[in-house]
Amino acid sequence: MFVGCLTAHVIAAGLLTSPWWVPDLTLIGLVLVVIRAPQRWVIFSIVAGLSTAAWAIRSSSPVFLSYLLIGWMTQRIAKQWNAMDLHVQWLLVGVASTALTFGLIWLDDLWSWPVVGLGLMRTVFTVLSVPIVRSLMAKTVGPAPFRA
């Protein structure tokens, strides 16, 4: 399912006319899969980081480290909160997507109102995609075990 998210992200980026309109399916896949298996966060984070950094023509290290950081943050929260709750997952993906998108804008010094608008739109698309990926994941690999 995680590999499916990575593949779907690449396919969606190829189909849509602007990368700003593509929800960060890699990020959603990483967050949801780390919530299910927090002990394997390092592997998932490395795979997600590498698959995204492969596209980078600059700032590849920050991109890779961002996914590592998101994986680490997710496993920490998954251990302490009930991360199976959709609202927690929305919050996690929303915070991570906002940080990642605006971090990239900051790194490339692209501040302008249209770009900020595009960044917000991408974050919204990403957050709205969470329930879809979540239900697909539940159908494919079964419901996630409940952790109090």
Binding site: A13, P19, D24, A56, S112
Partner: protein
């Protein structure tokens, strides 16, 4: 001598008969032929009944053939479209040797506007080779692999191309802004530039040959305090939809 009214009625009746004779004749024919038609249809139906399974099979086969033919037609249309696109590409840059390539992937990082093409060093491409499509410049190669290359699009924030306004020959620098538009910078405050002006490559460095269409001016911003003018430019090539490109070999 007949009564005039009788004569009138006779004439009218004759007219009615003349007008209605053809439909009446046809109706009579249909009625008379009905038993024969019915018998013939019954015989044909009886003769056809044993062939119904065969006909159904034939119908299915023909439908399948129709779908296959439609697929073939669609493929031929696509091949024709690609051929026309390649021809247009070649017409766009007749003076340079070029090689057609297809876009196989796009960047998943929104702030980095890149695409991957299916040609690389084994096809003779080099770093900084320029890519154009039928409408204008697409970008240049920044990462070269054996069978694929990464292309930096005009709209990427690292893209810098020396440009010239086609009409007034004012020159400036076209810089990507990370979204669908570019900015044309370093013009004088009284520079002769208006909306709709076309920007061409100036050919000031080795990578971009002179005279290729970069884009069209959409908005001009004159800053009296700084004393300079800039313009927003919409790239001529549809960078979000680019599929087929022509890679121009760098001049020696």
């Amino acid at each position: 001598m007949r009564h005039p009214r009788v004569r009138l009625i006779s004439v009218l009746l004759l007219g009615v008969v003349l007008v209605l004779q053809e439909p009446v004749r046809r109706s009579a024919f249909v009625l008379l032929r009905f038993p024969f038609t019915f018998t013939k249809a019954s015989v044909v139906a009886l003769l056809t009944l044993p062939r119904l399974p065969v006909l159904a099979e034939e119908n299915t086969r023909l439908r399948t053939e129709l779908i296959q033919q439609q697929l073939t037609v669609a493929q031929l249309h696509e091949a024709l479209r690609r051929g026309q696109q390649s021809q247009a590409l070649l017409q766009n840059a007749p003076s340079r040797q070029g090689m057609a390539a297809s876009v196989i992937a796009r960047s998943t990082i929104p702030t980095q506007q890149t695409v991957v093409i299916d040609r690389g060093s084994r096809d003779g491409l080099t770093m900084e080779s320029v890519l154009v499509d039928a409408s204008g410049v697409v970008g240049r190669i920044t990462e070269l692999h054996e069978a694929a290359s990464l292309v930096l699009l005009l709209t990427d924030s690292e893209s810098r191309v020396a440009g010239v306004i086609e009409r007034s020959r004012e020159s400036g620098l076209l810089v990507g802004r990370g979204r669908g538009e570019c900015e044309f910078l370093y013009l004088d405050v009284d520079a002769d530039i208006t909306e709709g002006d076309r920007i061409l490559t100036a050919g000031l460095n080795g990578a971009f040959p002179k005279g290729l269409l970069l884009g069209t001016v959409t908005r001009v911003v004159r800053d009296q305090i700084i004393g300079s003018t800039s313009a927003w430019v919409r790239p001529a090539a549809s960078l979000g939809r680019v599929e087929e490109v022509l890679c121009l070999q760098r001049s020696p």
